[in-house]
Amino acid sequence: MIEEPLPGTGESPSGLSSALEAILLVADEPVAENMLAQVLEVAQADVAAALHGLAASYTEQGRGFELREVAGGWRYYTRAEFAPVVEKFVRDGQEVRLTQAALETLAVVAYRQPVGRAQVSAVRGVNCDGVMRTLTLRGLVEEAGNDPETGAILFRTTSYFLERLGLAGLEQLPELAPFLPDHLDDEQDPGHVRPS
């Protein structure tokens, strides 16, 4: 799909440069050149040249963002001169209210941690990838290693979560039993979830 192996140098980015822009826009951590080369199926040298070309053009055009190579990978950053408005924007944001879906997912993680995405999805009956991402972005949930059997990423709640709920530790989470329907016996313990 990427026809031009060489990055354009003009105002319009080449196919390769545009593809790099698309990928880096959604990357949530710096992406290494060889990773990009692999996804795009082009030579790493071409990727490097295109990235440097893009970074230079953003700077030259005085855009609000820049492309920087950090920690072995490339990532979009806001340009330093706009830090004051970005700070103002971030600070001014209203307190974030979680959606019902996010609250339910958070509740499942809190009581079943460490827990993988698949198990959370199985409990809630719908895919929860997006919501888990939101909770991670908001600092309420964090990764907690991998499942020794499946290798799936496990998640747990953060200390920020405890702080927001006004608890000193996880052991202060209220017991679930009083909130569960009476007729549930141990055998039916909903905690026993078959991973999907």
Binding site: V26, Q172, L173, L176, F179, P190
Partner: protein, 287 residues
């Protein structure tokens, strides 16, 4: 007459299902379109034929058909059935209020069908738009390290107990969705069985009222079965009955010649569905 070529532009719910009737041949959706535009009289459509075709269509797909298509068919077939029932009612001169109400009901059914079609088409547009939008990925990445500390607080707005209640609700096992069979009756008895009981009672008593004969019935179902058994015995000339006044007490007299054994009352127990199906327990044991 439409050639039986599937038009892919038509509703995605039933792309492959076509009907072949005397008056119409073509995609199911087109049939609906014609009916709704009054181009085809609903009374000309044999719904049972459409249903038969749909069933054989599903059969031919051998498990590859999808639930969407089947449920779409059911929704529309139910509406068609309503429509047809209304259509078959006399629709001549409107001379009393009841007729007027019938006509109005028919118009409402048309409106309902068309309204459903409108939403179905809207749903197709929404689906296409979602697919299109699904090709664009939003930027959704963690805050740049330099600004992360400035992020506003997340407002949980819950006490720990309220949070636990949400967890309990989310973690409670959901009832496995099942198709309700509450409206289906497993016959707990059969007319033959009731005829046997009646024969025994009447041979002993000679004559009795139906009230007496059905006094031991456990429920309405059994009373009905016993009454049907009376009719069967009457047909077999085993009993006669008399009723002085309409809705009055019904008296039944045993009239069969001595020693005669009515067909129904004799013989082995019927092979109808009986309580405690054999086989179920075996199956469980095998597991």
């Amino acid at each position: 007459m439409t050639e039986g070529s599937g038009d892919p532009a038509r509703g995605s719910a039933a792309p492959g299902f076509e009907v072949h009737l005397d008056v119409f041949e073509g995609p199911f959706d087109l049939l609906l379109g014609l009916i709704s535009r009054h181009k085809l009289d609903i009374t000309e459509i044999a719904l049972s034929a459409v249903t038969d075709e749909f069933i054989s269509y599903i059969g031919a797909l051998a498990g590859r058909w999808d639930l969407d298509q089947a449920s779409y068919f059911l929704v529309v077939a139910a509406t068609l059935l309503d429509l047809k029932a209304a259509r078959l009612l006399p629709s001549g001169e409107v001379d009393d209020e009841e007729d007027l109400a019938l006509l109005e009901a028919r118009d409402l059914l048309f409106a309902r069908l068309l309204q459903y079609r409108a939403y179905k088409q809207a749903a197709a547009i929404l689906a296409a738009q979602m697919t299109d939008q699904g090709r664009r990925f939003p930027r959704r990445v963690p805050m740049e390290p330099g600004f992360a500390d400035l992020l506003p607080e997340v407002l949980l707005g819950l006490t720990a107990d309220q949070f636990a209640a949400i967890a309990a609700a989310a973690l409670a096992p959901r009832a496995v969705p099942v198709v309700s069979t509450a409206h289906l009756h497993v016959p707990r008895t059969t007319v033959r069985e009731q005829a046997g009981i009646l024969t025994r009672l009447l041979r002993a008593a000679g004559r009795a009222s139906f009230g007496e004969l059905s006094a031991d019935c456990e429920d309405t179902y059994e009373v009905v079965a016993r009454f049907l058994a009376v009719l069967d015995l009457y047909r077999d000339k085993c009993v006669s009955f008399e009723q002085e006044t309409p809705l009055g007490e019904l008296y039944i007299t045993w009239v069969a010649p001595e020693g005669a054994s009515p067909d129904l009352a004799a013989g082995p127990r019927p092979a109808g569905i009986e309580p405690g199906q054999p086989g179920g327990a075996d199956y469980d044991r095998q597991r």
